[in-house]
């Protein structure tokens, strides 16, 4: 069974450009999460989808970030326009059941974004 896959694995873009990150969760997982780690700091929650609905987007830093999950399958996270402080690694995760109590959450390898 395939795990959570993310694309691209690495991306280098110039400030002001747009980047779109994609996440394919494990098949059958309704819950999809985006997290990011910038500048070696803590890993921070961005948002949570249940199927195609945004359950919680309280962690989205500003309106330059847009996440979608059309059809409740894969998700995209677009950064437009990118700023230097957006550099970091963006993790996608998925889980089967609602809630983390006892449920394992599976993380992808991350999309490593560098804005120059």
């Amino acid at each position: 069974e395939a795990g959570v896959t993310q694309f691209p694995s690495h991306s280098v873009i110039e400030k002001g450009q747009t980047v779109t990150l994609r996440c394919d969760p494990i098949s059958g997982h309704d819950n999809l999460y985006w997290y990011r780690r910038v500048m070696g700091k803590e890993i921070k929650f961005l948002l949570h989808f249940v199927k195609e609905s945004k359950q919680d987007e309280s962690g989205m830093p500003n309106n330059r970030f847009l996440a979608e999950r059309t059809g409740g399958t894969y998700s995209t996270l677009k950064v437009q326009p990118a700023e230097l402080e957006d550099s970091g690694v963006y993790f996608c995760a998925s889980s089967q059941g609602g809630g983390f109590a006892g449920n394992t959450i599976y993380f992808g390898e991350g999309s490593w974004l560098t804005v120059v």
């Binding site: 959570v4 819950n31 999460y33 997290y35 070696g40 700091k41 803590e42 890993i43 921070k44 929650f45 949570h48 359950q55 919680d56 993790f91 995760a93 609602g98 809630g99 983390f100 109590a101 006892g102 394992t104 959450i105 599976y106 993380f107 992808g108 390898e109 991350g110 490593w112």
Partner: protein, 112 residues
């Protein structure tokens, strides 16, 4: 901040030694989980401990949880060079099962 905080930030030991990492958090939790991240790779789930548990074992890993002190520790016994990675604790709040709060991690270096 609700994030867990790991201590120490960095740890360097010789192969065969034990490594202990600590995590402190601020809110009431449902469970606490430890993850490992190898350099340039994704997060790998290591172990989950529920709020009503005090200790769990998995192979060479031992996790303790003290909810009165809001702290947890991860012990890796007989460390190997392959254990070199960053280790994160993640807390799941009691009032919101759908969020993890991570700390900034402990960077472990096991020298061969």
């Amino acid at each position: 901040s609700q994030q867990g905080e790991e201590d120490p930030q960095a740890l360097s030991i010789q192969e065969g030694e034990n490594a202990t990492m600590n995590c402190s958090y601020k809110t009431s939790i449902n469970n606490l989980q430890w993850y490992r991240q190898n350099s340039g790779r994704g997060l790998v789930h290591l172990i989950l401990i529920r709020s009503n548990e005090r200790e769990k074992h998995s192979g060479r890993l031992r996790v303790t949880l003290d909810t009165s002190k809001k702290s947890s520790s991860l012990l890796i016994t007989a460390s190997r060079a392959a254990d070199t990675a960053s280790y994160f604790c993640a807390t799941v709040p009691r009032d919101n099962f759908n969020k993890f709060y991570f700390g900034s991690g402990t960077k472990l270096n096991v020298k061969p």
